[in-house]
Amino acid sequence: MAGCIHPAAVFALLDRTSPFHLAVDGTGTIIHAGPTLAKIGLAKSPVGRDLLSVVDILRPISGLDFADLHRVAGKKLHMRFRDDPGTRLKGEFCPLRGSDISVLDLSFGIGIVDAVRQYGLNARDFSHTDLAVEMLYLVEAKTAVIGEVKKLNDRLRTAVVDAETRAFTDTLTGIGNRRMFDTEIEKRLAADERVSLMLIDLDHFKTVNDTRGHAAGDQVLRHVAQILTGVTRSGDMLARVGGDEFIILFAGSLDIEQLDLIASRVISGIETPIPYARAFARVSASIGITQSVNYDRPTSDQMLRDADRALYLSKDAGKGIYTIFNPKDGMGIS
């Protein structure tokens, strides 16, 4: 019979099974506080104070007076301490039958992780049946596992970037390769960006390779890649797309004067004898040029075909020459 049990015995029991609770008498005055309350560091000890001056009830109804509390008995309450409005609490108001005593059972709910840190709670502040410690364990285990996943992600990301860089790089010269060019031009045309395409084919390269050896040929290709890098701006793209064939994809449309300047610089740069093994390797270059503004719907295939036709006009005209593709009246030779 509840009536025979001294309230002190009930409080002692609750201190073990629900260490985070407050008990009030029939007037709403706090007559007992569970041991976890001592850790919370309220400005004043709650015992002897009015419950609703210590605890602010937010839901299901805010602004309840003490008599109303009995109407929400058994319901889930959302609360906060008036001293510490940052910490949300959950709980339940339970009248002790056969007496005028009621107990407000409290919990930090999902805020447990922050509360444990903020108040320095330890395992003794929870009953042995409370799953709070298991929950804290899980949070920590989850954090450790996510940490591993993040590290794995970073390693994979680096590996992907490395692999992509390798896949798009011409290993001999360090500039882009055919795949890089294909990807770039498709991307830019799909985005309706204007581009100018310069196809550069070396003249006499085969002679250097045949008479001076492959190492000399490789040196020439690296040297040419450097010269071509010198005429590109940051938004342009340079690739070696065949044995001795290079492409520069210029961002935007260039006027005739600009194309003339660039092509002349490329040709004179490449024609400058290249020192190799105490002698000079001599090559030249033929160039074919087209621009996306020449087409209603530019495609990379069409542009490459026309640049190629322009290039072969240059070759036929005697090498060391550039040709700009003109869609209206055939080819303009320079």
Partner: protein
């Protein structure tokens, strides 16, 4: 074998004997990629090969190498998170031992495909315990012995731990519960 266990062996060798020792051992064990990913599963034979290579390269016998691994897991600063997770098992060493049967379940709660050796505690009274260990990989008992020694130190308990003579497992005799201060443990992880 779970990558977490393999990764732990890798970190143990790197932190204890240096990364050049690890690179050498990994290469001689024909370990693909030269390192373990924590969240992958590996052929158990690979772990066996790795441990055999390590004992040869470091000139240690298998039992003491695995025991050192166990102690490393709970005492090295780089493995602080594992030591913390184990400390959730109990407020003192006896509590910890009494929760040891649940250890595989605690591990599975964190990493569902991580299977630890089965553990069964027998309390014989007066600080004497026997822990039976189901060796789900060769040498698990030695790792457990080192790990339990490390945990006894962590709790500041004076205890003698040895391999049981009559069954696969570890014999524990706790002599003094507050032999040293032990290491602090707060539920809240330090940020």
């Amino acid at each position: 074998m779970h990558g977490l266990i393999n990764r732990a062996i890798q970190c143990f060798i790197e932190d204890t004997y240096g990364s050049s020792a690890w690179i050498e051992i990994a290469a001689r064990s024909s370990l693909p990629d030269g390192e373990f990913e924590a969240l992958r599963l590996y052929d158990p034979a690979l772990t066996d090969t790795l441990i055999a290579t390590a004992t040869k390269h470091l000139d240690k016998d298998r039992a003491s190498l695995l025991e050192d691994l166990g102690t490393y897991l709970v005492s090295h600063p780089n493995r602080a998170s594992l030591r913390r997770l184990l400390r959730f098992g109990g407020q003192n060493f006896d509590d910890f031992l009494h929760s040891i049967d649940d250890l595989p379940d605690w591990a599975r709660l964190a990493v569902p495909d991580l299977t630890l050796p089965g553990l069964e505690l027998h309390s014989l009274g007066q600080g004497e315990y026997r822990i039976e260990i189901e060796e789900n990989f060769r040498g698990a008992i030695h790792v457990a012995l080192g790990l339990l020694r490390g945990m006894a130190d962590d709790y500041g308990v004076l205890a003698v731990l040895s391999l049981s003579s009559d069954h696969p497992g570890v014999a524990v005799q706790v002599h003094e519960h507050q032999f040293s201060a032990g290491r602090d443990f707060h539920l809240a992880a330090s940020l």
